[in-house]
């Protein structure tokens, strides 16, 4: 298991770094595919099948194709590059490293196990109390579907209203708005004929 994790994690991180380093936009897109695909692999490893598949379908299959499409539409020449100044790169790199260090420090500074136990104790949960073991198999499709429809069989005592029906609906309306908005923004401007 850790073998696959190592592979995917490395691919994801290296892909991300390559995205930063690459100068050509298309290469950036390529490395981004590598990175995001590996993240999808990480999702599979973390028993989130549906999220992984959604990541692949929406990000890699949809968003990135769209991005490449955009690159092609906006390229003023082959292999267009807009290099940043070295100073900026160095400064950004330094700040990035500081930031990374900060995040690392935070991650390592937190007692995850302790906090987890405290939360479990506070909410009177025991391991596997819900008996909802599908998650460990990665078959989260149905629970997710239930959650999006507003039912939470995985929540102890079946708290009503713990679902995500409203966010789900809002997201769908949001997507529709985005569809229209994007089409409006990117529409071909028709020149006003002077009569």
């Amino acid at each position: 298991m850790s073998l696959f994790f190592t592979i995917f994690a490395l691919a994801a991180c290296l892909g991300a770094v390559a995205v930063v380093i690459s100068q050509s936009v298309v290469r950036m897109a390529f490395w981004l595919v590598v990175s995001l695909g590996s993240v999808a692999g990480l999702f599979f490893l973390a028993d989130a099948d549906f999220i992984g598949a959604a990541q692949l379908l929406i990000y890699v299959g949809g968003t990135l194709v769209l991005l490449v499409f955009g690159i092609m539409l906006t390229a003023s020449g082959p292999y267009m590059k807009i290099p940043a100044s070295p100073g900026e790169t160095v400064v950004a790199g330094l700040i990035g490293v500081m930031f990374l260090f900060m995040v690392f420090a935070t991650i390592n500074g937190v007692d995850w196990d302790g906090s987890r136990d405290r939360i479990m104790a506070a909410t009177h949960q025991t391991e596997g109390a819900t008996g909802f073991d599908d998650r460990s198999e990665g078959n989260t499709l149905r629970p997710l579907g239930f959650a999006l429809l507003g039912v939470r069989p995985d929540v102890p005592n079946g708290v009503a209203g713990a679902g995500y029906l409203l966010p789900f609906e809002i997201a769908s309306v949001h997507l529709l708005v985005v569809l229209i908005g994007a089409a409006y923004l990117a529409r071909a401007k028709r020149r006003q004929d002077v009569v």
Binding site: I95, F99, M102, A105
Partner: protein, 778 residues
């Protein structure tokens, strides 16, 4: 059950014209070709025609339910049965309910005041309904022909002039005329159906506004608009009295309803008519100590206030109520001294004169006097009688010298209305209303005939220009003759008497009986008798002037023609009714129905002197003098007609010579007894003076004060401006410039470079982290 059925049919008859009005006024305006379409007219005719059928049906139902009052007639009308007591009628009506009342719709409740639309249906209501709808139907049909000039986009009004002297050109108003007529029918029927005096007042005003609109129909003519204004204002004077009466009524009786509200045979709400109780002498019940009038329930028991005391009203206020209501009647029915508006109202189209200003609206005053009769005490009735008496004589004398064919008829109308008032005033209740019905038929007939003549003579109204039209327009002439005979009250063998004979006889008989009982008031008989002759005279004068003799204006005569069938058929129908509607006289159905609902205290013959000093003649007394009165009246009418024939039907006497010899009297009469001038001097001129003074005062005093105030405000404003510009603006500008300078120094941070912003964010987060980490380690 019968009441509900009657209500149903009468409601249809009442509301259909309203629907017609709405349709005509809106669809008439928006229809494709409103100026050339007769659709509005047929709509109006349809509405009122169906209304007539409904009314007639209601009348039939009522008659069947009450056996046409023949049983009662046998009791009342039998001369031998003089012992009928006052209470008799009440028990009788308990067996045969003749009056039905109830609530149609509650408009609103304000404290104890309940404003409702009620209905009060008795024989008078039904007869009025049938009469109004029948006459209105005929007149509507007639108007289709008469108003056909208006079916054009460019109507030339020869009587109205523009400022440059030309004739007024305007679009035709055919549909508008019929819309107004429908609205009037609605208002008039509502007035008749009304179950409370306040509702009567509402529709009273509504017919007033219709009258205003129709008189001023040719609004471009100054005479027409002046006449409309005059009619309206004169009516307001009367309505002022009406309002006073209503206020007093409300204060002391607390209700406006006529009849009792009966639920499951229990009286839950007292109506006005049962609140003033009459004792056997026909007097109102009064408190023995104070002399105030007691307010009673249906059975004569005195009602009490909440503190246990008797409810009562001072007697003089009862007189005020009666006089106030009668003031409204005076205005509406053009009685002395408010009679001057009616002749001027002839400026409206002739069908309007026929419907509104002869048959229905002006009769509404008489109708109300009749309807409200139970509330009138002797003093009021005497006032009514004298008012009517003065009016009938005054108008008849003016009619003798009038030359405009419609003016003659208008004065005749005033005169006849005076007869009706007189009839009511001398306790001839049924006689007055009987005359109201018959008069409606023959006067509308004569107006339509005059309309036909005017139409045939191309809008020529002056009788001196007519003459010899008999064979030019025979149908018009002979139907007019029927009307003239009817109003003169001629007798014919085999009972084929003209309707006026019966009704006028009834009034004259009542008057005769009255002066027999009260000799001091002998004028109340003599003047009507004399006027009966005058009536015949001026009516035949008009007829001879118009239809026989030599043509006085050859041009008019040459172009005269008989009217089309839409105008003559209504004439024939109305002629039939004018002749025969009173068939049978006092034993005929019409009169019996009216007596069926006569106020109960009139039946008996009461000779005991009462507080008012008036003795009441009963039915029996009137009946006793009936034949005498009829003979006197017939003699008067025949002599009047004979004089007219001699003066105008033959060439024996030179009329102009007589006129010249009686110049003073003639002038006095031709100037309408100088009433217009009198009013002008008494009211108009002082009013103008006061108005002029007010205008001067306004300009000299008020305006100066205002101008001074304005100038001082300007001075204050100048100072305010200085303050505003230096202090207030300076403060605001200070803030603005400070903000601006701060912004100018901060703008450097806004590099406009997206990527730098990202860097700032990250730096900020890192810096925040560093601060947190150093401040709160662990």
């Amino acid at each position: 059950m019968v009441g509900e059925t009657l209500k149903f049919w009468l409601m249809i008859a009442w509301l259909l014209p309203l629907a017609g009005f709405v349709v005509e006024i809106f669809f008439g305006f928006y229809s494709k070709n409103p100026r050339h379409s007769k659709a509005a007219a047929w709509c109006a005719v349809g509405c009122i025609g169906i209304g007539f059928l409904c009314s007639a049906n209601a009348l039939r139902i009522w008659g069947n339910a009450n056996e046409w009052c023949v049983l009662e007639a046998a009791e009342h009308g039998d001369p031998g049965d003089t012992q009928a007591d006052a209470g008799h009628h009440e028990t009788d009506s308990a067996e045969h309910q003749t009056a039905y009342s109830g609530v149609i719709y509650t408009l609103g409740v304000f404290g104890s005041l309940e404003v409702t639309l009620d209905y009060y249906i008795d024989s008078l209501t039904l007869v009025m309904f049938t009469m109004v709808t029948l006459i209105a139907t005929c007149i509507h049909v007639f108007a289709i022909g008469y108003m056909s000039d208006e079916l054009t986009d460019e109507y030339v009004d020869h009587s109205a002039h523009t400022s440059d002297g030309g004739h007024v050109h305007r679009p035709g108003r055919f549909y508008r005329f019929f819309a107004f007529m429908s609205l009037f029918c609605f208002a008039m029927l509502g007035l008749v159906l009304a179950g409370n005096i306040f509702q009567v007042f509402i529709f009273w005003e509504l017919v007033g506004i219709c009258s205003f609109l129709l008189i001023g129909f040719y609004t471009e003519r100054k005479t027409a608009s002046d006449a409309a204004n005059k009619a309206f204002i004169m009516n307001r004077i009367g309505d002022f009295g009406f309002l006073i009466g209503l206020m007093v009524l409300w204060t002391f009786f607390g209700t406006f309803r006529f009849g009792d509200t009966v639920v499951d045979e229990q009286v839950v709400d007292q109506g006005l008519f049962s609140m003033v109780h009459r004792d056997g002498t026909g007097n109102v019940a009064r408190d023995e100590v104070t002399g105030d009038v007691l307010i009673t329930d249906t059975h004569g028991h005195v009602l009490t206030n909440e503190d246990g005391s008797n409810r009562q009203i001072p007697y003089y206020l009862l007189v005020v109520i009666g006089l106030g209501i009668f003031a409204g009647c005076v205005g509406k029915s053009a009685q002395f001294p408010l009679q001057t508006w009616l002749p001027d109202a002839m400026e409206g189209p002739t069908p309007v004169s026929a419907l509104v200003h002869s048959a229905t609206m002006v009769a509404a005053g008489v109708y109300l006097a009749g309807r409200f009769f139970p509330m009138f005490v002797q003093e009021v009735l005497l006032t009514i009688a004298y008012t009517g008496c003065i009016t009938l004589f005054l108008a008849a004398t003016i009619a003798m010298v009038a030359t405009d064919i419609k003016k003659v008829l208008a004065y005749s109308t005033i005169s006849q209305l005076g007869y009706m008032m007189l009839g009511i005033g001398v306790f001839g209740w049924a006689a007055g209303l009987f005359h109201l019905i018959t008069h409606a038929f023959f006067k509308s007939l004569m107006f339509l005939c005059s309309g036909s003549v005017i139409y045939g003579c191309h809008h020529e109204q002056e009788m001196p220009k007519m003459g010899g039209l008999l064979w030019k327009m025979p149908i018009t002439a002979f139907t007019m003759l029927v009307g003239v005979c009817a109003i003169s009250g001629f007798w014919l063998p085999f009972g084929l008497h003209f309707s006026g004979f019966h009704s006028k006889d009834a009034i004259v008989a009542s008057a005769l009986a009255f002066i027999h009982a009260n000799p001091a008031h002998f004028m109340l008989f003599l003047i009507p008798l004399l006027t009966a002759g005058i009536t015949a005279f001026y009516m035949f004068r008009m007829w001879f002037y118009t239809f026989v003799g030599k043509p006085r204006d050859q041009h008019v005569h040459d172009h005269a023609h008989e009217s089309p069938w839409v105008m003559t058929v209504p004439l024939l129908i109305l002629a039939a009714f004018a002749w025969f509607c009173a068939y049978g006289g006092e034993s005929g159905h019409l009169y019996l129905m009216l007596t069926g609902d006569e106020p109960s205290h009139l039946a008996a013959d009461v000779t005991a002197a009462t507080a008012g000093g008036i003795n009441l003649p009963g039915h029996a007394a009137i009946h006793a003098v009936h034949d005498d009165a009829g003979r006197w009246a017939l003699i008067a009418a025949l002599s009047g007609a004979l004089i007219a024939y001699v003066l105008y039907g033959t060439n024996v006497v030179n009329v102009e010579e007589i006129k010249r010899q009686l110049g003073g009297v003639h002038g006095f009469l031709a100037n309408k007894w100088y009433f217009d001038d009198l009013y002008d001097a008494l009211f108009m001129k002082p009013a103008h003076k006061v108005a002029a003074f007010c205008a001067w005062f306004d300009g000299a005093v008020f305006d100066r004060i205002l101008h001074g105030a304005a100038k001082s405000m300007i001075v204050v404003s100048k100072w305010d401006r200085v303050f505003d510009e230096t202090v207030v603006d300076g403060f605001v500008n200070l803030i603005a410039s400070a903000t601006q300078s701060v912004g100018a120094s901060l703008r450097v941070v806004q590099t406009g470079r997206l990527r730098q912003y990202v860097m700032f964010i990250v730096l900020g987060v890192v810096a925040l982290f560093a601060v947190m980490f150093t401040t709160f380690p662990g």
